[in-house]
């Protein structure tokens, strides 16, 4: 981007961007229409009825019920339509498709740590293949942050103590800004990075080539052993065997079950693991536990 161009829209690089831009365009048209209409009405009246002499006495006009109803009902109908259009996009944006790939994000003052299930992790960068829906499961180690990619028209706050999600399908190759858009302290404006959308083949190469250790689930399996989860949840343990349960619970439920077992509805004596593992370790453990369940969401 050079200084000569004067763009009005950011790049359209997700399946969501077109519909957001469309409703934005509609709103701009409505704004122009009403602003111009009111401006013209005021200008017309102001010129036509400007004061001609100091002792002018205009006629008494109290109002008009018909007009009041008209200019209440028409705007009401217009905003009702906009409400529905906007709600549709929002509801779609809050429901990731079942086949979306999951990528984990841990935010902290002032950096983004991205963890791919395959084991690759990156700082302030997110590499993605084109045309594959991806779901981000995000949490923060300290204050509230926000994962905002203008080219995807997508953002969501990233909170400490819970998971939030956002999803999108990148549809254009390129490098796009990643911004933290929830004020998070001194270096808020430096908590920025890049999302790089790649050809699937390039992405596969990147996955294999970039610094990677083991898959998250493999690390999680060791954590499962280290925290002795198996002594209760394994064979002959007092707690339910995880593999036997039906349906794969989502990350938020597992987080709650590990950190606040009582709150998550666990009966019996499961202790809390709050404060005993880092956010990244918790995500690895969850990634492993999820592999124990059949692949149908609960």
């Amino acid at each position: 981007m050079t200084a000569v161009t004067f763009p009005l829209f950011p790049d359209q690089a997700s399946s969501n961007a077109g519909s957001v831009d469309a409703i934005y365009g509609l709103m701009v048209l409505l704004t122009v229409f009403f602003s111009v209409a009111i401006f013209l009405a005021i200008a017309f009246f102001a010129i036509k009825y400007h004061r001609k002499s100091e002792d002018e006495v205009p006629p008494e006009i109290h109002g008009s019920l018909a007009l009041e109803i008209t200019w209440s009902v028409i705007p009401l109908a217009i905003v009702a339509v906009i409400f529905i259009l906007g709600a549709k996009i929002y509801i779609a944006a809050s429901r990731p498709p079942a086949d979306a790939a999951t990528v984990y994000v841990v935010a902290r003052q002032w950096m983004w740590k991205v963890q791919h299930p395959e084991g690759n992790s990156e700082i302030n960068e997110l590499h993605l293949p084109i045309d594959r829906p991806v779901k981000l499961v995000m949490t923060s180690e300290d204050v509230i942050h926000d994962f905002f990619v203008p080219a995807f028209r997508m953002k969501k706050d990233v909170l400490p103590g819970r998971y939030t999600q956002e999803w999108f399908t990148p549809t254009r190759l390129g490098r796009y800004h990643l911004f933290c858009s929830q004020y998070c302290g001194t270096n808020h404006s430096r908590m920025i990075g890049w999302v790089e959308v790649m050809e699937p083949s390039d992405f596969e190469r990147w996955l294999k080539g970039s610094a990677r250790t083991e898959s998250m689930a493999a690390v999680g399996e060791r954590l499962f052993a280290r925290f002795h989860c198996g002594s209760c949840h394994g064979d002959g343990g007092s707690a339910p065997r995880l593999a036997g349960l039906s349906g794969r619970p989502d990350e938020a439920h597992l987080r709650e079950a590990i950190l606040h077992p009582a709150r998550a509805g666990a009966k019996g004596a499961m202790p809390t693991y709050q404060g005993q593992m880092s956010e990244t370790e918790l995500l690895q453990l969850i990634a492993y536990v999820r592999t124990l369940f059949p692949e149908v969401p609960r």
């Binding site: 409703i23 109002g63 209440s72 203008p150 808020h188 920025i192």
Partner: protein, 541 residues
């Protein structure tokens, strides 16, 4: 009704009823208290303006090079805190409302004059706390105090600042209480509810918000204080709290607070439009009840600040629908003001220019508010410069234009002098142009994705930021001019006479400046508000 206006020789007007410091600092006269507020909020306005200027200078270049990030974060925090809590919220109610409500309803003072003076002292004490915090090193949480940043992580003077805001809140609660009681109990004989000027209706609605909303802000601040000082877990999840709870509590007050800022301005605009078109307001009942509707609906829409916060989808959908409803009473007002001009006798004096400016900028602010209420669109523009532009169109384009229009309109009544009309028009035009140049580019910046509260930004955003900073310098000149010529006019302006604009309303029936007791003979009302067509303006001098 010109009988009320005769000043009795030997009876001083309120300005010459004592000159010593004590006669001002211990006054119980609502008009003098209004001037105490005028002086203090003007001080805060220009202080907040200096912070804004520094912010705009920093953003002239993409690199964060003028001040450090710590300083920049403190600048926008102090700008927001001072402008919201120490200028906008008290602005029209505490100055014009205080001065005019008793005059408009034909009373000698507010219901509780001592409480009124106490309100000002509370405001000053709160202001001193916040200024002390600023001098001691400032606060960097943003005016929104989001947790757990404010309650756990920030190393700045959160407690001292928050105490200042907490204390000032009580000033606002007491002012609201005073207005409600005064409007209920002290109206002149014959002045029924539906004969009240719309300025009074707007202040009644505003007072309800002040009384019902401000305590919730006070509670939220106390909870932040408890968590920060005593580590009682309310908001920080590491000690068992919920960070979103704070946002719910904060916006439960701070969204209605926007209506505390805009409703009085709407009241001012109703007075100005009617006077300078010599017409009864079109659809009086609709304009009056739309104020009440905005006040009530305003309490039900706080969740629209939280569409991307992690709030549930169902809550967001409901808050979006309710937010769209606020558009209806707002639109009703704009349409009725426009219709009031029809077949009027329109003159383009300074207050009317501000009123026209208000309608234009408020329409833009209101329409762009609909962008933010639109769920799918808010995901993209939330927490970007789009939202900065939107709320400045409402809170500066709307509230401050109304405030300046009102200050000019009632200046002859307040000071007894006329301001220089030509300079007034120049300033009004400068403010309008400067404002648009400052804030319109920010809509585009926001849609392009520039987040708010960024000390440094990518280079492609620079052109629009330069335009914005250029506009801010014009806006600054537009705001300084009235300070100069209004001060000048207090001594050198021509004497105004009781009713220089030929306006209707009881405040114009008494002399300018009014006597301490407001009216020599207590008025009796036998006509509707804005009865411009009933007879020729009698006391037009």
């Amino acid at each position: 009704m010109s009988t009320f206006s005769a000043a009795i020789p030997g009876k001083p007007d309120y300005l010459s009823d004592g000159y010593g410091l004590k006669s001002w600092l211990l006054t119980r006269d609502h008009k003098r208290i209004a001037l105490l507020y005028l002086a203090s909020i003007t001080l805060f306005f220009f202080l907040g303006g200096v912070f804004a200027l520094l912010i705009r200078l920093e953003l002239l270049t993409p690199a964060g090079d003028l001040v450090s990030s710590e300083t920049y974060n403190k600048l926008f925090t102090m700008h927001g805190l001072i402008m919201v809590f120490f200028f906008l919220i008290p602005s029209i109610p505490a100055v014009l409302g205080n001065f005019l409500i008793p005059l408009m309803i034909g009373a000698r003072d507010l219901a509780f004059p001592r409480l009124n003076l106490l309100s000002w002292y509370i405001y000053v004490v709160g202001g001193i706390f916040t200024l002390t915090a600023a001098i001691a090193g400032g606060v960097d949480t943003g005016w929104t105090f989001y947790t757990p940043y404010s309650s756990t992580y920030s190393n700045s003077h959160v407690v001292l600042t928050a105490l200042g805001v907490f204390i000032t809140g009580f000033s606002s609660i007491l002012t609201g209480l005073n207005f409600v009681v005064t409007i209920h109990k002290m109206r002149a004989p014959g002045l029924t509810w539906f004969r009240l000027p719309l300025f009074v209706w707007a202040h009644y609605a505003t007072s309800l918000i002040m009384i019902l909303g401000t305590p919730v802000l006070a509670i939220s601040i106390v909870l932040v204080f408890l968590e920060r000082v005593f580590r009682i877990g309310v908001f920080d999840p590491r000690i068992g709290g919920d960070p979103l709870l704070f946002q719910h509590l904060f916006w439960f007050y701070s969204h209605p607070a926007v209506y505390i800022m805009i409703l009085p301005s709407m009241g001012v605009v109703s007075e100005i439009i009617t006077c300078f078109s010599r017409k009864r307001i079109f659809g009086y009942n609709f304009v009056a009840f739309s104020s009440v509707a905005i006040a009530v609906l305003g309490f039900l829409v706080w969740g629209h600040h939280m569409f991307v916060s992690g709030q549930s989808v169902a809550a967001s959908v409901i808050f979006s629908a309710l937010s769209f409803l606020v558009a209806i009473p707002s639109a009703i007002k704009v349409f009725n003001w426009t219709a009031t001009l029809y077949r009027g006798s329109i003159s383009f004096q300074t207050p009317m220019l501000y009123a026209f400016g208000f309608i234009g900028l408020f329409t833009m602010g209101g329409m762009t508010g609909l962008f933010l209420a639109t769920l799918g669109l808010d995901i993209h523009v939330h927490d970007t410069y789009f939202i900065i532009a939107h709320f400045h169109y409402i809170m500066v384009g709307g509230a401050v234009m109304g405030y300046l229009g009102g200050i000019h309109f009632w200046w002859p009544k307040i000071s007894g002098r006329l301001y220089p009309e030509w300079w007034g028009r120049v300033a009004a035009v400068l403010v309008f142009i400067g404002f648009n140049l400052t804030f319109f580019p920010q809509f585009i910046l926001g849609y392009l994705g520039m987040p708010r509260r960024y000390h440094a930004y990518p280079e492609e955003f620079q052109v629009l930021n330069v335009m914005s900073t250029a506009g801010a310098s014009i806006l600054g000149v537009g705001y300084l001019l009235p300070l100069v010529y209004l001060t000048w006019s207090m001594r050198y302006g021509p004497r105004a006479g009781p009713n220089p604009f030929g306006a209707k309303g009881l405040e114009w029936e008494t002399s300018s400046p009014p006597p301490t007791e407001n009216f020599v003979v207590m008025p009796v009302v036998d006509e509707e508000a804005y009865a411009y067509a009933v007879k020729k303006s009698p006391s037009h001098v």
